[in-house]
């Protein structure tokens, strides 16, 4: 996307007020209102006109929201299940989609009518995402897809899926991939919940059995799928890396401190109390530093002088989080032996936050994935070592080798 045109904050507010005069959230449902918001170019304000935007700086998006919230008690935020489509799908569609697809689908994404999912990971390709094996074979004007994806959020709710599949196994892995938009209602698409350690299925497995995709649903050229996918992946990593709470003592440490202050005093001897207090104090320090380092990173970025402080959050947070919730259960002691939420297998995105204790136990289990999802801690250490510190890479056995000749499990 090229240069944005300049538009004053006042004008953005004015246009928002104009929208509100036409249609008011308090008097309409979410879909209707957000469609109107799209039509006025106030959906993704940095998108071109006619596509939900006004071609002005993305900073102005918050101004729109701010102005709406000033004049309405009801604010229709992005629907949770719609985040992938809104955050990742829309930009990809805008860049690579046909005119027709853009015109049809962009408003439906923003309105929440269509949920999108992202299908990159596969069972055999975890850290090595580009080694994926789902095959797409050309058949006339269509592609025939066979294979399996995994860790697919909201697939069971999705109308559209962003799919990366291998269209050429005879070239090195990155070069043989293509990117498709897949109608999830196509015959041969089978979505199954993938239950986790907590009993919840936040994710799905998706199986493809001779699924047919029209050629015009390929985004980018054949063999350019990796390039199209990479931006999306980067967005995900940043999103998961997160920044922690902005308020001192906020977020998970506040839960830990609550459990600590409400602990069964007779359960621990004075000596054990002191040892545990030292652990909590250590976690207080680390969570504070996570929060403040994110702050420092934002400030440095804003000052145009970003340093390594921005890259360390994901790795640090995974480790701190796991220790924090382990400590929480240790504070609970014998009470940590019970798991009131139970383990019925269920497909929900909800955390049991009925009590700090139940929340802590849930997080104790859930946090184990923090060092795996969105890039394992081992991969993050490689990235920090090589990209930030400039250390040399390892000898590669899969470089410049046709994908089909690389050993895989």
């Amino acid at each position: 996307m090229s240069e944005y045109r300049s538009m004053s904050e006042d004008e953005v507010r004015e246009r928002t007020r104009a929208l509100l005069e036409k249609i008011h959230p308090e008097k309409s449902d979410s879909v209707t209102f957000r469609r109107a918001q799209y039509d006025e170019g106030l959906a993704w304000i940095h998108f071109p006109e006619g596509y939900g935007g006004l071609n002005v700086s993305p900073k102005m998006n918050v101004v729109v929201l701010d102005e709406i919230s000033k004049h309405s008690s009801v604010v229709y935020n992005d629907p949770p299940a719609g985040l992938i489509g809104i955050g990742m799908g829309a930009p990809v569609l805008l860049t690579y989609g046909s005119e027709e697809l853009k015109k049809t689908l962009l408003p439906r994404i923003f309105s929440g009518e269509d949920i999108w999912c992202q299908m990159f990971s596969e069972p055999s390709a975890g850290s090595d995402v580009a080694g994926l094996a789902t095959r797409a074979v050309r058949d006339g004007d269509e592609w025939v897809v066979n294979g399996q994806k995994v860790w697919t959020t909201v697939a069971h709710l999705s109308k559209w899926g962003m799919l990366v599949a291998r269209t050429n196994p005879d070239v090195p892995k990155h070069d043989g991939l293509s990117y498709f938009l897949l109608d999830m209602e196509s015959p041969g698409v089978d979505v199954r919940p993938l239950y986790q350690i907590t009993g919840e299925a936040e994710f799905n497995e998706v199986f493809f059995n001779d699924v047919r995709i029209p050629h015009e649903y390929m985004f980018g050229k054949e063999g350019q799928g990796w390039r199209v996918a990479i931006t999306t992946l980067m967005n995900e990593r940043v999103a998961i890396g997160g920044a922690g709470p902005r308020k001192k003592g906020g977020g998970s440490i506040s839960q830990l401190m609550k459990l600590w202050s409400e602990r069964e005093k007779q359960n621990l001897s004075p000596g054990q109390e002191a040892v545990m207090r030292d652990r909590v104090s250590r976690l207080y320090i680390e969570t504070e530093l996570l929060r403040l380092t994110a702050q420092r990173a934002r400030a440095a970025q804003k000052a145009g002088n970003p340093g390594p402080e921005g890259s360390v959050a994901k790795l640090a947070q995974a480790d701190i989080n796991k220790r924090l919730w382990e400590t929480a259960v240790d504070i609970l002691g014998s009470k940590g032996l019970s798991f009131e939420a139970g383990y019925e297998l269920r497909q929900s995105a909800g955390v049991d936050a009925s009590s700090t204790e139940a929340f802590a136990k849930y997080q104790f289990l859930r946090s184990r994935a923090n060092s795996i999802e969105g890039g394992t801690s081992e991969i993050m250490r490689n990235i920090l070592g090589e990209r930030v510190l400039g250390l040399p890479g390892e000898p590669r056995v899969d470089k410049d080798v046709a994908w089909k000749d690389v050993p895989r499990s």
Partner: protein, 370 residues
């Protein structure tokens, strides 16, 4: 102390391992843990009858196998390896030890034989609502009534407390801590399962309301009960070692066969060195558990120290191994369908049961005079 097993003991291990490999593979464990009692009655009967596990340490005079703690250690380790679901820790370890250490002869004669055959499931109830594992926190007072006793109050975290036919309850009398026998179907006894973190071991909360009980001990049992608890954590430590070894084996197996970027992930130092560190810890944990079991068998004067040392160390090793196993398996290790989480939950639960690592490090420090 020579920390090696005899050929006979090695054979026992082989037998037990084969038995559980046949009867308690992952599929069986998943089936058993979902049963209301948390275990499979047929398997339990087979354990008792086919290889004499239920009464392993019950003296021969009471119909048991008359084995000692080294053999028990072997059995616990092997059961821990496969996460076998059975009221073994409750009945064949804790309750049996309590009977051997605290009970009068009549009670021993009446209960041990049916424990040995597997017919009677027994358990020990002592922890109260604070959740503290110290005997000093037992506050329940038994009231004498006519020629019997009545119990009132609550006991928590009772191993297989709902399934148990007989509950040995620790309560206070004028003489000190005594042990009472309560039938599972006694009047005024309400039992409820805890929803447990660990799916493979049942815990219950018991409420007593003027529940009739028989006193089976004579005089203060504090010291005897300390030994019972020490013997329990020794067995638990052996079980932890089995679980930790299983996690290490699983991780190594996966790391050897899972390829990423064209190489087995175990060829990367990040994974290889994790496994090496786990190996060191597991070997040390074995030493700790074996030393504790051998102390229980041959050096009772060393029991309390060796038990706390083992429980402190093995608890952390098992948890670490179970956590690393998940990490090495990546996303797969985090799914319900993979067994890694069953070990992880067992590891955390067994770390908390009968006092966590910090608790036992402190106990050890006191014993060795730090």
């Amino acid at each position: 102390m020579n920390l090696t097993f005899t050929e006979e003991q090695d054979e026992l291990r082989a037998t037990v391992r084969q038995f559980f490999a046949d009867k308690s593979d992952e599929q069986a464990v998943r089936a058993h843990m979902n049963l209301p009692s948390g275990y499979d009655g047929d398997l339990w009967t087979q354990m008792a009858e086919q290889i004499g596990l239920a009464g392993l340490i019950v003296p021969e005079e009471h119909g048991g196998a008359g084995f000692g703690y080294k053999e028990l250690c072997i059995v616990m380790e092997e059961m821990g390896r496969v996460l076998a679901c059975a009221p073994y820790l409750a009945t064949s370890v804790t309750a049996t030890n309590a009977l051997l250490q605290c009970a009068d002869e009549a009670t021993r004669n009446s209960l041990l034989p049916s424990i040995a055959t597997g017919e009677t499931i027994a358990t020990l109830a002592y922890v109260e609502s604070s959740g503290c594992w110290d005997l000093s926190e037992v506050n329940m007072r038994a009231q004498s009534k006519d020629d019997g006793w009545l119990l009132d109050g609550e006991k928590g975290w009772v191993l297989d407390g709902v399934a148990a036919d007989v509950i040995l309850v620790v309560a206070r009398t004028e003489t000190g801590l005594e042990v009472f026998r309560v039938e599972g179907d006694a009047e005024g006894l309400t039992r409820s399962d805890l929803p447990t973190l660990d799916l493979t071991r049942k815990l219950a909360k018991l409420s007593f309301a003027s529940t009739p009980a028989t006193k089976i001990s004579e005089g203060d049992q504090s010291e005897a009960l300390e030994r019972v608890l020490a013997l329990t954590v020794v067995a638990l430590a052996a079980e932890q070692v089995g679980g930790a070894q299983a996690c290490l084996d699983m991780a190594v197996e996966y790391a050897s066969t899972r390829l990423q970027f064209g190489r087995p992930i175990g060829s990367y130092q990040a994974i290889k060195h994790k496994c090496a560190d786990m190996l060191v810890e597991v070997e040390f944990a074995k030493t700790a558990a074996y030393h504790a079991c051998f102390s229980a068998a041959d050096e009772p004067g060393e029991l309390l120290e060796a038990a706390s040392l083992a429980k402190a160390y093995c608890s952390e090793v098992y948890f670490h191994a179970a956590a690393e196993n998940i990490q090495i398996h990546g996303g797969m290790g985090f799914t319900w369908e993979h067994p890694a989480h069953l070990y992880f939950k067992r590891a955390k639960a067994s770390a908390l049961l009968f006092g966590d690592a910090a608790h036992h490090r402190e106990a050890l420090a006191t014993i060795v005079g730090l």
